[in-house]
């Protein structure tokens, strides 16, 4: 009898020891899992500033109204009263009531989202007559300068299943419904740094899930604030100057590669995308011939036309196949293998040397030079000037342009390289393609003689991004000077192609116009007189281009402008470029303005934490 009892008591003690001491850790964990619910606190997204410290992307406080059924006797009446203060339809009220009844009485149900401060103020004032109603604060992205930076900053949007499938990102934040992530532009490319780290809120719940108390509240780390190199004043000016055209302009600092403007027209309002764009708006943007959604500065690739002639000239000088004095006769055309290659001026330019050839943009001269240099050397020189190379900018779908080689044609066109292809390349036509960004880089390199690389993000918080490659180019500085004098003439010689678009101040602009064909002009058409550009349908008109830099002495900025199907570069692109350049020069020293770093934002967040 006693033995039996002792055995039982022994068993009890053994079990107590086993559960409470040996496996204590495991059971402790299980108990904690039982009671603690962790909810994620989305961090504030990093702010985006322009060069002088103007806010370009910020987080607007938006309010959500939630209702807890158990705190009121008559939810219907409360909702009816609420409907007098905020927009709330009867059907919505019915839905909310249904949802509340299907859940436990203490679960908050969202009544309205995206409310403005005025609504919340009204609700707060009437709080005593609205039992169970609580406003909750959330953050929504906003782009105060809207369209000006649509192509650079891009936009955020609610995370989609497609996004989740695309990115290999295990951040639990992405699982928050309608969490905003960067979808385009810098917002997308700098997503990881802008997003920040999730905060966690630990709450203790009881067995049916009622919140008992808050155990811990880590507000999370806001994303890094970001400063662009772009100057808003200039960007806005460029965007407005190009209004009505399908056009792109890039302004760059020739000394360090900072991009001061990267404008693509027409543009769009990125704010429309934040909470999902409507079908009608999307259709309007997508079906527009002027492609407002495309960032033409980096995504567009165009035949550079005459703006490419500096490359050929530099290649010829470098190879020594010509010199500054040599003159080439231009009778208006050149016969190559029995085919006539025309100069843009039907009567020809007569005898032209390199400087004059650039000044008048004589095609025959460059046909001749391209044949002497050969396509491989042209491409080599173009690459050294930044053409045909994909530049590293935090922007989507950057086009690498195209600088053809014989091998390239074999591989892609399954055809041999013809001598005529070289002649066409000599005037920036044929297979040659370049983006406005590349043309601006080319001009900047010609102007500065150093191998600058583009840069569009100045700093994250207080960490400056690296300025890449300011090593000198491998070209003979004397050769570069010859090219520069040619470019000077284009804008400042009374017979230069861009003379009418010169800068009249002491600071001179040096440039080069370009008019690139997008159609083939047949023999018969040429005989009957080439159809005037204005008479062609828009899509078949020539592209107008201009590249340049200023001031001629001590260059600071390079610019490239392309007006899609705009006609002659001298008439369409050069005036735009001149105006933008004038604006850029008027900005003065244009040094960087201060921005808040995120430690400061964290403080702000704490301060405005709702009580």
């Amino acid at each position: 009898m006693g033995t039996a009892q002792l055995t039982l008591i022994g068993a009890l003690a053994w079990r107590m020891n086993q559960l409470g001491v040996k496996k204590a850790k495991k059971f402790r964990t299980l108990a904690e899992e039982n009671r603690i619910n962790i909810s994620l606190q989305p961090p504030a997204r990093g702010l985006i500033y322009d060069r002088s410290g103007n806010l370009l992307a910020l987080n607007r406080q938006v309010y959500t109204i939630q209702m807890v059924r158990e705190q009121t006797n008559d939810p219907q009446a409360v909702l009816n009263r609420l409907a007098q203060l905020i927009p709330l339809s009867d059907t919505k009220i019915t839905d909310i009531l249904k949802e509340m009844l299907s859940r436990r009485a203490f679960i908050p149900v969202t009544v309205a989202t995206g409310l403005e401060w005025e609504h919340i103020a009204a609700v707060s004032v009437n709080a005593p007559s609205l039992p169970g109603i609580t406003p909750k604060l959330g953050l929504n992205r906003q782009y105060p300068v809207g369209p000006d930076f649509a192509h650079i900053i891009g936009y955020v949007g609610p995370v989609s299943d497609y996004d989740l499938a695309q990115v290999n990102d295990k951040d639990p934040l992405l699982l928050i419904p309608r969490f905003q992530i960067g979808k385009n532009g810098v917002e997308a490319k700098a997503e990881k740094t802008l997003r920040g780290k999730a905060g966690t809120k630990m709450i203790e719940v009881n067995s049916v899930g009622r919140v008992m108390r808050e155990l811990d509240d880590q507000p999370g780390t806001p994303g890094a604030n970001l400063q662009l190199t772009v100057a808003h004043e200039l960007q806005r000016f460029a965007t407005e100057r190009m209004q009505g055209e399908s056009s792109a302009a890039v302004v760059m600092d020739v000394n360090n590669g900072d991009i001061l403007a990267l404008a693509s027209a027409p543009t769009f309002d990125p704010n429309k995308f934040i909470n999902g764009i409507s079908v009608a708006d999307w259709k309007a943007l997508n079906e527009n011939d002027y492609r407002p959604l495309a960032n033409k500065t980096v995504q567009g690739a165009y035949p550079p036309g005459s703006t490419f002639k500096m490359v050929v000239a530099l290649a010829a000088l470098t190879l020594g196949v010509t010199n500054i004095q040599e003159e080439v006769n231009c009778p208006g055309h050149k016969d190559i293998n029995g085919r006539k290659f025309h100069c843009w001026r039907r009567g020809g330019h007569g005898k032209v040397n390199l400087r004059k050839a650039l000044r008048y943009s004589c095609d025959v001269y460059f046909y001749e030079m391209s044949l002497r240099v050969g396509i491989e050397k042209i491409t080599e020189t173009a690459n050294a000037l930044g053409l045909g190379i994909k530049h590293d900018l935090p922007l989507p779908a950057i086009h690498s342009g195209l600088m053809p080689t014989k091998k390239w044609k074999q591989r892609n066109k399954k055809e041999d390289w013809y001598i005529g292809d070289t002649a066409n390349a000599g005037i920036g036509q044929g297979f040659v393609l370049a983006s406005p960004l590349q043309l601006a880089i080319m001009t900047a390199r010609l102007a500065s003689g150093s191998q600058i690389e583009p840069r569009i993000i100045n700093m994250f918080d207080d960490k400056q991004t690296k300025i890449k490659g300011i090593s000198p180019l491998s070209f003979d500085p004397a050769h570069l000077d010859i090219i520069r004098t040619g470019m000077y003439d284009v804008s400042n010689h009374p017979r230069g192609t861009a003379y009418s678009s010169r800068l009249k101040s002491t600071e001179k602009i040096a440039g080069k116009t370009g008019t690139s064909q997008v159609r083939f002009i047949s023999k018969t058409e040429r005989k009957n007189g080439v159809t005037k550009n204005e008479d062609l349908p828009w899509k078949r008109r020539d592209h107008a281009l201009f590249v340049g830099y200023a001031p001629y002495k001590n260059p600071r900025y390079s610019i490239s402008v392309i007006v899609e199907h705009g006609g002659a570069g001298s008439r369409k692109a050069a005036p735009i470029a001149r105006d933008i350049m004038q604006k850029a020069l008027s900005l003065g020293q244009n040094s960087y303005g201060p921005i808040h770093n995120r430690k400061r934002s964290k403080l702000d967040n704490l301060k405005r934490k709702p009580t």
Binding site: M1, A13, G20, V21, K26, R28
Partner: protein, 379 residues
């Protein structure tokens, strides 16, 4: 010896009884009850009025009752054993038809101030009547098979009624208590071995009968047995109780999470936290140390009973004391085994600690009988 006797040999009288009262036992009972008050206060989340206060009031009533019962001569209790048994049986029959239904079982008579569970009363009445039987029976007849039938019948009647409620836990406790008294009275061990094997046979039969036309237990009882064998099979349903109970016990660790800091009970993860599962809260908040302390107190109560029974030459008093001790032992043993996942959940409260009026009063009354046997023992 006759059924009724009236003997006052060598016993203290008047206020001298106070000196002969078994004070250590009373102290131990108070200590265990105090642990109960503390835990009830804790599981109610600091609400004194909810459970702790009524429990303290009942303890006080019960304690006074214990003193009164203890001062009453044991011979009187011996003499009213049979009426007590008959009344208890009648009450059991009454609840069969008019009882208050709670949690799928007919158990209570609502007397207004207390919900009386006749099955609790029967535990003591049965021990009393069997002790009386063996006190009366000649010692040479004890192991004769024929003389086994009266006590078996006395046990089987209430057991059947309680099983029918259905309250398996109480029925088992009742049977075990009676069996221990019979064993201690001198019934041959072989009968018990036979009995135990029969019971195991029965258990097999009960399990086997599931799903047939003559299924013996209710479905929920089968589920409890199944989940006892494998709690993880149904973590949100029947297994929930035992899983949460083990989590609470285990999370206490060696020294516990601190008084009123047990999350499992405070946040309602524990079922029946103030009654059957109160031990888990104790273990959660006071850990292994707390659990062992309570167990030690229980063992000391049992030991007190054994010691006084051994000194007692009054056969009825000794048997009664041992019977009460055994019932008490089974009480806490089954409860602890159950909450620690070593026995199926059969609904047995932790004696003196779990919230419950009948159990508290009946237990203190029973220890009053032990006191009476102690004071009026034949020296």
């Amino acid at each position: 010896m006759s059924i009724l006797i009236n003997a006052y040999q060598n016993v203290p009288t008047g206020f001298r009884k106070v000196l002969y009262f078994h004070w250590p036992l009373a102290l131990l009972l108070t200590a265990v009850s105090c642990i109960g008050f503390l835990m009830l206060f804790s599981v109610s989340g600091g609400n004194f009025d909810q459970w702790a206060k009524p429990q303290i009031i009942r303890f006080c009533i019960g304690f006074v009752a214990m003193i009164i019962i203890g001062f009453t001569p044991i011979s009187i209790w011996r003499n009213i054993s049979i009426p007590t048994y008959i009344i208890s049986l009648a009450l059991l029959l009454y609840v069969e038809y008019f009882g208050v239904t709670g949690k799928g079982a007919q158990r209570w008579i609502d007397l207004g101030f207390i919900k009386l569970q006749p099955s609790e009363l029967m535990k003591i009445a049965l021990v009393m009547v069997i002790a009386l039987y063996y006190d009366w029976l000649d010692s040479e007849k004890i192991s004769k098979p024929l003389w086994l039938f009266p006590p078996l019948l006395l046990t089987a009647l209430p057991m059947a009624l309680i099983l029918n409620q259905p309250d398996l836990g109480t029925a088992i406790l009742l049977g075990s208590g009676a069996a221990v008294v019979m064993l201690l009275a001198g019934v041959s061990l072989w009968y018990f071995l036979a009995g135990v094997s029969t019971i195991f046979g029965l258990i097999y039969f009960v399990i086997w009968s599931k799903g047939t036309n003559f299924q013996i237990l209710k479905n929920y009882q089968y589920r409890r047995i199944e989940t006892f064998l494998d709690p993880s099979s149904d973590p949100l349903g029947s297994g929930y109780h035992i899983t949460q109970s083990k989590i609470a016990l285990g999370s206490g660790g060696f020294s516990g999470r601190g008084y009123m800091q047990g999350t499992q009970s405070r946040l309602n993860f524990l079922p029946e936290k103030h009654t059957d599962f109160i031990f888990t809260t104790l273990a959660e908040e006071f850990g292994f140390v707390g659990g062992i302390t309570l167990l030690t107190l229980y063992i000391m109560i049992i030991l007190c009973c054994y010691l006084t029974a051994m000194q007692n030459h009054n056969r009825f008093g000794a048997l009664l004391t041992l019977g009460v001790a055994a019932t008490f032992f089974f009480y806490f043993c089954v409860n602890m085994l159950m909450v620690m996942g070593l026995a199926p959940i059969v609904g047995v409260p932790l004696p003196l600690v779990s919230y419950g009026g009948s159990a508290m009063l009946v237990l203190l009354g029973a220890f009053g009988l032990v006191q009476s046997a102690h004071i009026h023992r034949t020296r």
